[in-house]
Every structure is written in C-alpha cells, then in structure tokens.
Symmetry: C2
Subunit: 235 residues, 2 copies
DNA sequence: CCACCGTAAGTTGTCAGACAATCTGACAAG
DNA sequence: CTTGTCAGATTGTCTGACAACTTACGGTGG
C-alpha cells in the first residue's frame, strides 16, 4: 500500500527549518516563544501532563523538550519538583553581562583580522536594527531580536562557531529577563546612536584606545546591565 | 522532622556526587567515562536498545542521557540515523582552541582584580598538576584531568560561572579528542615548566607585555592545538 | 559483468499506559 | 500554635507498541 510517491524526489533542501523539524524541537520552539513573549511568567511551573495535552504530544516528548529548555538556561529543574521558568536574579544578569563582555570584546578585538564578509555582516545587522528603531513600525520583540542580533554579529567576528553559540545562549537568557518587563521599557530603544558610534570606532580602527571600541563596548554592556537589573526591580 | 544533626553541620563532603543522582545522569556519567577512556571510539554508533539492555535501564532513559551527551558536544545526532560518538575534526579542534584562548585570556587579564581566593586556586591546581607529572604515579587520564583543571582555574579568575561552564564543556571536547590517541602521547606531559612560567608571569604582574602572560598563553594554546591535530593525524 | 530497483530488516521517533518514590497541602491531635 | 499524619498530585522510570525512515540485500535487465 505504498503509492509510489515522488520516488527519487531529492528535495532541494526540504522546507524551512520549522517545517519538518522533530516534534521535540517544535515543542521546544513553542515553549521558547511562549517564554520570550511573556505568556509564561518567570517562576511558572511547567507541568508535563498539562503541556502534553495542551500541545497534543506525549509526555516523554514534553520531557525531552523541557530538558532542552533547562540546558539553555531558560528553565530550571529540581528533582521531583519539576521544571519552572527560570527566574532572572541580579547575580545571573551580572554574570550574563560579564560573559557577554568577554565574548563580544573578543569579537571587537578581532575586527581587523576578521574577513570582509563578517565585517559586512556587522554593518548589515546594525542597519537592520537602527532602521527598525527609526522606522517605528517594528514590534518590541522584533526590536529586541535585531538589537541582540547585532551583538551576536560582533561575536561572529571571532569566526568561532562555539563562541557564537555561547553568545546566542546568553542572548536567550537576556530575552527571558526582558520578557518579564517588556511593558516597562518599550521606549528604551534609543540606543541606535550608541551602536552606530561603536561601529564608527571600529571602522576608524580605534579599538584599544582609552576611548576606543573595546572600552566603549564595556560601558555599553555595563549600562545595559544596570538598566536590566533596575527594570527587573532586583537588588 | 529535623533530628538536630551535627549543629554546625558543615558536612565534610556529603557522599560522592554519584550517589543519589537520577538514573539519567548516572547513565550519562557512565557514557562519558566510556568515551573518555576510549572504550567507545570516535564514530561508534550508540544504539539505544543495546545500551538500554547493557546498562539495565529503559530506552527512554537512554535517550535522555544521549541527549545530554549531544548537548555537551561529545556525540552527534542525525535524524533517523541515531547518535554516534563525535569525531574530532581539525576544524573543531581549532575552534575549541580559539574559544579556549578567548576564555582563558579573559581569566589571565582578570588576575589582578580577581580575589586572593581565586588566585590561590590557580596556584593549587598548578601544584596538583606539576606534582603529579613529577611524581610519575598518576595515570594518563589523571594527568589530563589535572592539566585541564588548571586551565579551567584560569577561567575561574573571571568569577563568571557561565564562562567556567563553557570552559568545562570545551575541556570535555578536548578530553574526547585526546581519548582517541591516549596511547600515542602518554609521554607528552613535559609541560610542567611551561605552566609554571605562565603563573610566574602572572605573579610578576606582566600580563600585556610583548612577552607577558597573555601572549604566553596564546602560544601555549597554539602549541597544544598543533600537537592535538598532529596526534590525531588530521589535516 | 555492472547498474538499477524493490523488498525486508533494523533503528529511530513517538505514543500510550502504568507504577513507585517523592513532594505538597490540608486536616486532626496534642 | 505547633506537630504528626494522610490523601492528592507530580515526577522519574519502566514496559510495550507502532509508524517512518535508513540501510542492506538480492533479483532483474541491459
């Protein structure tokens, strides 16, 4: 009973990533979305049975997806107490920012030796962000996404997939933290000039100077750290 | 329900971590051990049913443990083809070393501002390594372990748990690579002086000089990279 | 002899149901 | 008001099953 479907149908590239991904990764993606958009507040317990019924999948599948979330730092698991959406603490925000500084700083220092392709990518992500800010049409989540993509593109200057992957994980943690206060700082995205200033310093080749890109980045991330912690009402 | 146990209950060290861990983490630990000790060669397919029977656990449990291994980079999963022990390629070794350089470099630069506790820990891990090298009694795996612990202690100078965690993941990938050739370079551990030289530079406060600790570290890691790649017969 | 194709076996991805261990909260007893 | 106990809920794990997919084998035709 196998109607010989398109037999040698060497699909060019299947369809887009979200289409034929495994059930586990689809569930994980859905959970991530819900967390980032604030549908699931920090501290919310993620009950396996409820999620399984709600998403129409089995409990083991939900369990695996939850394991992924935990590994990404978006949720925490305690033995016999289950998985809950992670609660951003001041200490973890500080740590994320310190780690960001190390990774992005390495990217900034690699500006001169990174290829033209990667430098061009930094310029593109910058424009994608600034134009969205000034266009005013993009949603808050979209602005966040583009903002953080710019910072990831800095890490891409290192040319190291592993460092980029680490940076993306850090950005996900920040997205989680920001999702807790999205309504508070919807208008806090006046940082377009700041980012442009950073790239101008890079284009000018001023990296290690006392007012160079490296120091500029340090202050930029420090400011973001304070801002996030205050917005969360921590400390 | 709290029998007033030893009041100042500074438990010496409780029992060892492996005691009451979940079944999944015990299986993951066992698999890691097998990979690091070369029982499972690179490229070996990890069949779920075989592992479940061999370890006396169920298939879902094995699946979760395999997911952990994959997340740690010790194995790779391909859809419908299963999980296999990761194969270190020249490109990934280079990437791991580049990432190590960024993380450990950040630690070295933080030497002056890191607390005395962390500086002391670097000295201790150094002695633990050098004494093991010169004592000659430790096994090859034990030498590797102490060697990499020293490098992790450098990252600990940053005081960032996330950076330390990333470093540990990188070290695990290196341990996997080294496990493929453990018999080849059992005698390659004459690096005690090199590490002592690094710490001496740090103690002297010479970090950013042309022959300072930072540059010293870069060469040290570069050497390790070349050595590992050659030992693996890659490139 | 070689290339091609269809079938069969094996493995993974996912589901359903079940049970013991453990945690939580409420209720009764002192 | 504290303490002990119990029932409900949830997780951790197991067993069994089935569809989808990959791979290997053997037959067929050039």
């Amino acid at each position: 009973m196998s109607p010989s479907a398109p037999t040698s149908a060497r699909a060019p590239f299947a369809s887009l990533s979200v289409e034929h991904a495994s059930t586990v990764s689809r569930v994980a993606t859905e959970l991530r979305r819900a967390v980032f958009e604030g549908e699931l507040e920090s501290g919310t317990p993620l009950r396996e049975i409820a999620l399984a019924e709600s998403l129409g999948v089995s409990r083991p599948t939900v369990r695996e997806a939850l394991t992924v979330l935990v590994a990404e730092g978006l949720a925490t698991r305690e033995p016999h107490r289950g998985v809950t959406v992670a609660t951003p603490r001041a200490e973890s925000v500080r740590d994320v920012c310190r780690a960001r500084w190390v990774l992005e700083g390495a990217g900034v220092r690699a500006w001169a030796t990174a290829g033209d392709v990667r430098r061009q990518r930094v310029r593109e992500t910058l424009v994608a962000y600034t134009s969205a800010v000034r266009g005013g049409a993009a949603s808050y989540e979209e602005l966040n996404e583009r903002h953080l993509s710019f910072h990831v593109s800095l890490v891409e200057l290192t040319g190291s997939p592993r460092l980029v992957q680490m940076a993306e994980a850090l950005m996900d943690e920040l997205k989680l933290a920001l999702a807790q206060v999205d309504r508070l700082n919807r208008n806090a995205h006046n940082e377009a000039e700041s980012h442009e200033g950073l790239v101008e310093l890079l284009e000018a080749g001023d990296v290690d100077g006392p007012n160079g890109a490296y120091e500029f980045l340090r202050r930029h991330i420090d400011d973001a750290e304070v801002e996030v912690i205050e917005a969360l009402g921590l400390e």
